[in-house]
């Protein structure tokens, strides 16, 4: 069993927590997520042009880059996390250009060395899989694809094909940090996706509160929370770990009670 498949085989849906690497004391912040009960960590690779992100995560990207974060730093954060937490799955999320800059093979090997389990690349759809997918799969890293409300039944097989680890269902047609979609629409789409694949389906975009997380946990295999955590880092700086742990614990409790 891989770290990712173990995380999705627990008796409760997985809580997937996102933070931008290099924004604040990332090691301390990630430890707080784990202590609070995060089942999967998504580590954002900062990029100058985060086209799919709303204001909160855009600002986190700029803070991180403004602090001088490099690709080597992001990989260093991952390596250190893996040493501290041998069993917690770690996924890198970001945009194509920083991932392919030195070549897809270079990136896949470096991510593997850093103990990374999966990669989510926002702007590489199945049509452009060649740019990164084969290198990741060869290195034993799960390429995690995104499905969205606009992914119709005709496209779904292409999205699912070659996807590993879990499928990330983006609940709203839009950017991160927007309002949550109606639970009916989420439920219908998740069951549609689950008819097309056996891999777990996690739902994200717009999930901020334990109540929302609990609702989604009833219909999905995982719940992704990003902007709400990133905002705590922005707001509390050095005091963020305690706040992150508190919100993560509340989300984890709600998810565990949901089913």
């Amino acid at each position: 069993m891989t770290r990712l498949s173990s995380a999705f085989s627990k008796p409760h849906p997985a809580l997937v927590c996102f933070l931008t690497a290099g924004d604040g004391d990332t090691a301390a912040n990630l430890d707080a997520l784990v202590a609070g009960g995060a089942d999967v960590i998504e580590l954002g690779m900062p990029f100058t042009d985060p086209m799919a992100d709303g204001p909160a995560i855009q600002a986190a990207n700029l803070r991180s880059l403004g602090a001088g974060t490099t690709t080597a730093d992001v990989l260093g954060i991952a390596t250190a996390f893996r040493q501290r937490h041998p069993d917690v799955p770690l996924v890198l999320m970001g945009y194509a250009n920083p991932m392919v800059r030195r070549g897809a093979e270079w990136f896949a090997a470096a991510a593997k060395d850093a103990g990374v389990d999966g990669v989510i690349c926002v702007d590489i759809p199945p049509e452009e899989d060649d740019a990164l997918g084969p290198a990741l799969r060869d290195a034993g890293i799960a390429p995690i694809r995104l499905a969205t409300p606009t992914t119709d039944d005709k496209r779904l097989p292409a999205v699912v094909e070659g996807s590993q680890g879990f499928l990330y269902y983006v609940a709203v047609a839009g950017i991160t940090g927007m309002q949550q979609a109606a639970i009916e629409s989420i439920e219908a789409n998740v069951s549609r996706i689950k008819r097309a694949t056996d891999i777990p389906v996690a739902v994200g975009f717009g999930v901020r509160t334990p109540e929302q997380a609990a609702e989604i946990a009833q219909v999905a295999d995982g719940v992704v929370v990003g902007s709400a955590l990133v905002e705590l880092v922005a707001e509390h700086g050095a005091d963020a770990p305690a706040k992150l742990r508190e919100l993560t614990a509340a989300l984890a409790t709600a998810i565990r009670a949901a089913r």
Binding site: F47, T48, D49, P50, M51, A52, G54, Q58, L62, L65, T70, T71, Y95, A96, N97, P98, M99, V100, R101, V122, D123, I124, P125, E127, E128, A131, R145, L146, A147, T148, P149, T150, T151, D152, R155, V159, V170, V172, A173, G174, I175, M178
Partner: protein, 403 residues
Amino acid sequence: MNSPNSFRTMPDERGHFGDYGGRFVAETLMPLILDLEKEYRAAQADPAFKAQFDDLLEHYVGRPSPLYFAERLTEALGGAQVWFKRDELNHTGAHKINNCIGQILLAMRMGKTRIIAETGAGQHGVATATVCARFGLPCVIYMGATDVARQAPNVFRMKLLGAEVVPVTSGAATLKDAMNEGLRDWVANVHDTFYIIGTAAGPHPYPELVRDFQSVIGKEARAQMLSRTGRLPDLLVAAIGGGSNALGLFHPFLDDPDVAMLGVEAAGYGLDGDQHAASLLGGFPGVLHGNKTYLLQDEDGQITEGHSISAGLDYPGIGPEHAWLKDMGRVEYTAVTDDEALDAFQLLCRTEGIIPALEPSHAIAAVAKRAKEMRDDQIILANLCGRGDKDIFTVAEKLGVEM
């Protein structure tokens, strides 16, 4: 690299120009991009679409634009004959409108009811606002806050035309950030919104369709040149921001082996520093805004901010077809500094009585260098893709003149 039989068959069915191009977009946009491609293929096969496009270009835009022999400039330079394709005489003052007409017709075919666009200098924003007014569609223009400040007349023009202009403050607040914001709007409004991209870049099929709509420039110029001189030009020259006016001129000539082509990037303060906007000459291949192409970026793939005196050339990427044409060696690329462009701007004003935009002033500067190295029986054809009314404030400031 083997030379293909034709340079005019790109992109392939996946939207790739060799290694470049493609569809690097978020999944939310993929179905829409596939739809757009389907609709574009249908429009290409529909004589009514072409008839409406041609009719609007003739009676609304004012095409064909003249082909003009610049006699006094030729004399002043002493060398090859210099001819201009006068796309600055189009309605709204630049080539941008050719593309906007084509795209708004596509938008309406697709039943879209809201238009968005990005703009740098404001020329594409004005052209988009113009066609939206003409067809009665609401229009939102994203423009970097820095550009809003330095292109005030165009901002007011867009507002007069009924567009909502949204200043973008994220990033460096210039053209690339405006494009990011356009893409963010689009993913949130895919059901009713059409994104009119202003240059031959972005995800497939944009580079192809923008090139096709702009190719009216080269098709006209080729026929005009043949009928006026009985021959083809020896050298084509055009300025490059994202590359749409250059491709519009070059593409119909790509399979004429005796016609050389020169694309002119903005060297800003010079190519040796990082204050330039020359993606091909000073950048590396990467992925941004939906396509793989040459980009200004650092060793980690972070996009760097270029600089040019011309807001329309100040973009860290370039259309993917140019990236391919460069690697194939079919088109030569060079760069011209702010100061050289400013000199060329004044030269054209005084020798020909034409105030050019700062973008084609870069092309004119390159023409000035090349003409002197060529014989007087040779012909250079340059694209005069925009007029300079929008730039007089920038130029006055540079020349130290109070207005």
